[in-house]
Symmetry: C2
Subunit: 316 residues, 2 copies
């Protein structure tokens, strides 16, 4: 009988679970609302229920459960350090509680790291030795794989690629620092640049109408729609986002000389405008020969990356 | 009989060789001028002669030769990619030539990586899993150790920590990019900031007399001497250097969450002024808990770090 593992992707809104085969195929799936306001024990309980459902679908008992969780955490013991978007989780021993409930091996890893493992296992990083994933969304997460293994820090966290400083006098970031990549290329940073551009006297853009003249309605998705219709200001917003992303990636290329840097997440959906600017900046600024060797590619694993990578923690 | 290896530190001015015991002790040493203008074959020949001398001092034949060499190189085959300060070395198969001459295993690694290995083996990084060394001098080199192993890039280079961009509109760097850490905290960057400060009307500093009113004579060592005598402007130059170094280190801490960041090289000799500023900046800007956990320490291995680390390539 085939070896399987259960993977869970714990998000701020939904919990996604899957039964994953040894080759990375998802054999069964289930989902529940996170309802994070009910606190960690309630959420952990829902995770255990989903895991139980997946276990019931397996021919032989799965080898264990892998969880991709937000926030810095200690993967060696499965303890959450803190989660910026789910209050009350500081120090929560998620791995131990789940193992106790399910009586099976449990491993917990940062969600972006799980996505990176999935891309390395089955996606755009397959066959590489050194690769970096950046997930672009409200924030910027990431995972770094060196010699086929995740780069994990001393005890709790590493791979915080969203918090590379590209300008020490730049805008304030959610982490408390200034000028982080996330402050420029996360959702808030993109919208701030869009507002600034649209506010300029004389700017002509369909975005103004599309947002119903209400800047509160600006979103990366809306800017992307306008860009796809050929709107100049919208295109320039994404090009600038690509340039800034490229600046951060230059640092990663100089540090790791990776084979591939993979961009995933919502903003990457507007890749046609972002990728050329990222590639230009990396080629122009990073050291040779790393700048010539590195590929900049779109993520290939889609929305199941997190749970597949989490299951992979147990499968190899 | 004890296992030994030969280590060579190839510098732009001198070649240093040593016979190194399995515990990292240097049993014998020899040195020669590099005379780089004579070209790579002549320099390789001098390296082979020194290695032969070290071999003659060993009780049993050493297990091999390790070389720490400047510039990006391919450690898998011992080929130099290019050396900014030694022309004519592009593509030179240093490892193969030496192995051919000496009939013994040869490994070649970047010199800053060798110094990092030495600090990890016997110095300020002993017993750590993840550590980073920055060597401060004319340029800024570095080595990164994760899970006890050097971070090496895909094919040729990685760990170019001196070329982390801290401000995309910053001064031009020797690598062609703008605003690299090296452009701020390498020798030229420090001197440029000193000139700017001393040029300001009203600046009172003993540095002006110490340099004989000739700004061409300014050097990090001279600025350090003035700082140690309590000269305000000299102290502020080093404090600012520390702050800027800290900015670069914030990026490394957010990426690697290392146990220790080690500062070595000439500039680190003025550590009393630099270290507090580095530590402040890291604590203030890097993500918790990495910012609290990381130690910022002075290198402990001195001038033999390069050859000891190079020998270590063969010894473990």
């Amino acid at each position: 009988m085939a070896r399987t593992a259960i993977g869970i992707d714990l998000g701020g809104t939904n919990i996604k679970a899957g039964l994953v085969a040894e080759d990375g195929t998802v054999l069964a799936q289930a989902e529940a609302k996170t309802l994070a306001h009910e606190g960690p024990d309630a959420v952990m309980g829902r995770m255990a229920v989903l895991a139980g459902q997946m276990r019931g679908k397996a021919e032989a008992d799965p080898v264990g459960l892998g969880v991709g969780s937000p926030g810095p955490l200690d993967p060696s013991v499965g303890q959450i350090y803190f989660t910026p978007n789910m209050p009350g989780w500081d120090g929560y021993p998620l791995g131990a509680r789940l193992a106790d409930r399910l009586k099976m091996p449990v491993r917990v890893e940062n969600d972006a790291n799980c996505a990176a493992l999935a891309e390395h296992w089955r996606g755009a990083g397959q066959g590489t030795k050194t690769m970096i994933l950046l997930t672009l969304g409200t924030g910027i997460g990431g995972g770094i794989i060196v010699d086929g293994k995740l780069v994990n820090g001393t005890r709790v966290t590493a791979g915080e690629v969203g918090h590379i400083v590209i300008n020490d006098k730049g805008p304030k970031c959610g982490c408390g620092n200034h000028g982080c990549l996330e402050a420029y290329c996360g959702t808030a940073g993109i919208i701030a640049r869009a507002r600034e551009l649209l506010d300029k006297p004389g700017t002509v853009s369909m975005l103004i109408e599309m947002a119903g003249r209400d800047f509160e309605k600006l979103s990366p998705a809306l800017i992307g729609q306008a860009a796809k219709k050929g709107d100049g200001p919208a295109i320039s917003i994404y090009k600038e986002t690509g340039r800034l992303l490229g600046l951060g990636i230059v640092n990663l290329v100089n540090i790791f000389a990776p084979e591939v840097v993979i961009l995933g997440g919502g903003v990457a959906a507007n890749g046609a405008f972002i990728f050329p600017a990222v590639r230009d900046e990396v080629k122009r600024r990073a050291m040779r020969p790393g700048n010539e060797q590195v590929r900049i590619e779109a993520a290939a694993m889609g929305n199941d990356a997190g749970l597949i990578g989490a299951a992979g923690l147990l499968l190899h």
